[in-house]
């Protein structure tokens, strides 16, 4: 009865501010539900990937033993007495990614500074599309370039460095250093783009305050703007690490592929490349082991993400 009256009142008095509660509630409800479904879809996907990987990967850990896998250094999955140690691959992924990030972050952040604070607008107008193009190049192309350009150079360096050490096993230039260099170039666009957004997002008041205190442009950028953009830059590093750890295609081509400790001029195998190169012929426990490697990779990247995010949060609490 009241609802009816209200609708009638609304129709009769166009200026009335009384709500048509029912209709409004329905629209709001539907909208809420749509957002909710979309959001939970993401949760569903993440959760199911994690659960699936644990399910598939854990069986090998169960059969071979966590210690043998994580701390074993011999990887002979197809031998008569097979051995499934992936320690060297884990270390290679960690060291290779670390090197790539160390190379890429300084260059990337400085490029981002250049783009965001551009002193020279015309040059920036060339650099920006170049960065975008770099991001769009398929990773296998990086690998091809690595093979044809980087590896021969690296081989020459190797010949010069190890001329007098007969114990060295020559790699033809396909080694950890080559892989790290290729990875560094590959994550560069990510680092540049995210850092640039972070630097542009810094409150204009921060710059003005520093300049008004007598800071030069350079002092302002390094002492005020970059510290203020810190959390965004760490995000850039996190995403860069993510891309580097998961990358397989390009470094399969340039890293050599033998399971060795991660030393600069050793032919090495990363976690991700092991999966790619062995999946085709693997079977049985070997196949399960490759899923276990996938699980290790997943845990590795989650750990790095959590650690870096924690660092940022802690920094923010202590006045950062």
């Amino acid at each position: 009865m009241r609802e009816g009256m209200k609708t009638k009142q609304n129709m009769l008095c166009p200026g009335s501010v009384m709500a048509d509660r029912k209709k409004k509630a329905v629209v709001e409800g539907i909208a809420q539900a749509v957002f909710g479904v979309c959001a939970s879809f993401v949760i569903l996907v993440t959760a199911s990937i994690t659960v699936y990987m644990i399910g598939k990967g854990a069986s090998a850990f169960w059969k071979v033993g966590v210690k043998e896998i994580l701390f074993g250094t011999v990887w002979k999955p197809t031998a008569e007495k097979p051995s499934y140690g992936i320690l060297y691959m884990i270390l290679t992924s960690a060291v290779g990614t670390g090197l790539a990030v160390l190379l890429s972050v300084p260059i990337g952040v400085l490029t981002a500074v250049f783009l965001a604070e551009a002193a020279d607008k015309r040059l920036a107008a060339v650099v920006k599309p170049a960065v975008e193009l770099l991001a769009g190049i398929p990773s296998v192309i990086y690998g091809l370039l690595g093979i044809s350009l980087l590896n021969p150079l690296m081989y020459r360096l190797e010949l010069a460095l190890f001329r007098d050490s007969p114990g060295h096993r020559f790699t033809g230039g396909a080694n950890l250093l080559s892989a790290a260099l290729v990875l560094a170039v590959m994550i560069l666009p990510t680092v540049i783009n995210i850092s640039e957004a972070a630097i542009r997002g810094v409150q204009p008041g921060v710059r003005a305050a520093s300049l008004a205190l007598g800071g030069s442009r350079i002092q302002t950028i390094f002492c005020a703007v970059l510290p203020a953009a810190k959390s965004g830059i760490v995000t850039a590093v996190v995403l860069g690490v993510g891309r580097a750890v998961g990358e397989a295609m390009a470094i399969t081509l340039v890293s050599g592929g033998c399971v060795n400790p991660p030393l600069p001029f050793y032919s090495v195998r990363f976690l991700a490349t092991a999966i790619v190169s062995e999946m085709g012929y693997s079977s049985g426990l070997h196949r399960q082991m490759l899923f276990a490697i996938g699980l290790a990779l997943l845990i590795f990247i989650m750990a790095v993400n959590t650690a870096l995010t924690k660092i940022v949060k802690k920094g923010a609490e202590n006045g950062g």
Binding site: Q203, G205, V206, A208, A209, S210, L211, A212, L213, G214, G215, S216, Q219, C223, A224, P227, A228, A316, E317, N318, G319, G320
Partner: protein, 252 residues
Amino acid sequence: MERSKISVRNLELSYGAARALKNVSMEIRGCAVTALIGPSGCGKSTFLKCINRMNDFVEGVRIRGSVFLDGEDIYDRRVDTTLLRKKVGMVFQQPNPFPMSIYDNIAYGPRLHGIRGRQELDGIVEEALKGAAIFEETKDRLKKSALGLSGGQQQRLCIARALAVRPEVLLMDEPTSALDPVSTRKVEELIRNLKKKYTVVIVTHNMQQAARVCDDAAFFLAGEMVESGPGDVLFSRPKDRRTRDYVAGRFG
């Protein structure tokens, strides 16, 4: 008559074709508070930023004329803007602390100018915070983020930050327009104290505020400086009809 701290002669400023300041000349006394009043867009903030050359960063800006600070033309080609801005500090409309600790905010300026010693910095920080009447509220949380302070506290922190490089002139661009009445009163009290040691130039929209804090005042309209002089004269017996209309609240 005592010599002016700042003496502006025939200052012209334009952005492209738009003239923002038209032939402005005025004298600003040392160790006094000078209020710049006028409606929005009249050029008073632009004028303020000419005194520490913050307009240099605006694209397409052209400035002619002279601004003498202690007898030196700050638009001379030999001027080092770093030294100028050390001598002429600035406080902005929106409180803009750095996202760092309270201590690092204050120490920022001195560090830029090469002061590294821990003890010396400690001394400067305490002195600056006391000078801006915010020491008692912050002394136990110097290592905490400045962003945790209230708006009014942040603004006094920004004043302290400006004081830490030991300026002689303090420019304030509507420093209380983002603050509540209680914080505003504290900042006004502070401004009245600051003039014992500093030359203060303040831009304000608020006529009552100008009357409360200023010794001298200048009225700007459409890029011109219409009238300047002692504050009580400008507010009670303005010579120019336009000043009279504005002060009486007939426009603006």
